[in-house]
């Protein structure tokens, strides 16, 4: 999981970037590479050219560009994110949360 964002996961500096951090956190994904594009204007433009995507944040799973905040939110809501994380060998925390719910 790699994220290009404004600010850092500890301190996002943009509402859209924060949304990405929060969604990943919900799934228990906290140990990922985050690049702060505000620190490096060349990176900021370069990553937009690379993915042919005009805005930040940008989320990459296994080196593949997945989308920005809107798409990640959709994937989270429709269950796709849990599946994609599973493919990366990451077990979403939400699955455990569901299991706890069922036990109760």
């Amino acid at each position: 999981v790699v994220v290009f964002m404004k600010g850092s996961p500890a301190q996002p500096l943009c509402g859209f970037s924060n949304a990405v951090v929060q969604i990943l956190r919900l799934h228990g994904v906290e140990d990922y590479r985050a690049h702060d594009v505000l620190q490096d204007p060349d990176l900021r433009q370069g990553i937009k050219d690379y993915s042919n995507w005009p805005t930040i944040p940008q989320v990459y799973l296994n080196g593949e560009f997945v989308g920005g905040c809107d798409i990640l939110l959709q994937m989270h809501q429709n269950g796709d994110l849990v599946e994609e994380l599973k493919k990366l060998g990451i077990r979403s925390a939400l699955l455990d949360a569901e299991k706890d719910q069922e036990k109760k």
């Binding site: 500096l13 943009c14 509402g15 859209f16 505000l38 995507w53 005009p54 805005t55 809107d70 798409i71």
Partner: protein, 125 residues
């Protein structure tokens, strides 16, 4: 009738918006032939002066999206607004649905709050 996008924003938009809003509206209409289109100027929520027109949210409902995954749908929207995104348009929240999806789910996510962005970085020196 108040659009879902505007309702999510919690306020009414006066008139048809500024020049960029009108450009966005006409380009998306030409490119995607939407059955429903809403354009929301979020710039005031991001510290810009009134009329800044830098951050927008768009809701596009179009049959052209059928069969396309979200990434491709968003790319279509970006293509239509390529010039603007290279220029003044700083952020764009996109909700892209087919008419069937829109019928069954007319909710739109609200714009996330601003957290300062690059302005905050500069102030810290």
């Amino acid at each position: 009738m108040r659009g879902a996008l505007l309702a999510a924003a919690g306020r009414t938009m006066g008139g048809s918006g500024g020049p960029l809003a009108r450009t966005i509206r006409s380009k998306l209409t030409a490119a995607l032939q939407p059955t429903h289109l809403e354009v929301r100027d979020d710039s005031p929520r991001h510290g810009g002066p009134p009329g800044a027109e830098t951050h927008f949210g768009v809701l596009v409902v179009s049959g052209l999206f059928a069969g396309l995954p979200p990434l491709q749908r968003h790319r279509l929207v970006h293509e239509a607004l390529r010039e603007e995104l290279a220029g003044p348009l700083h952020a764009l929240q996109v909700t892209a649905r087919t008419p069937e999806q829109w019928q069954s789910d007319p909710r739109v996510p609200p714009a996330p709050p601003c957290l300062g962005g690059s302005k905050r970085e500069r102030r810290r020196g």
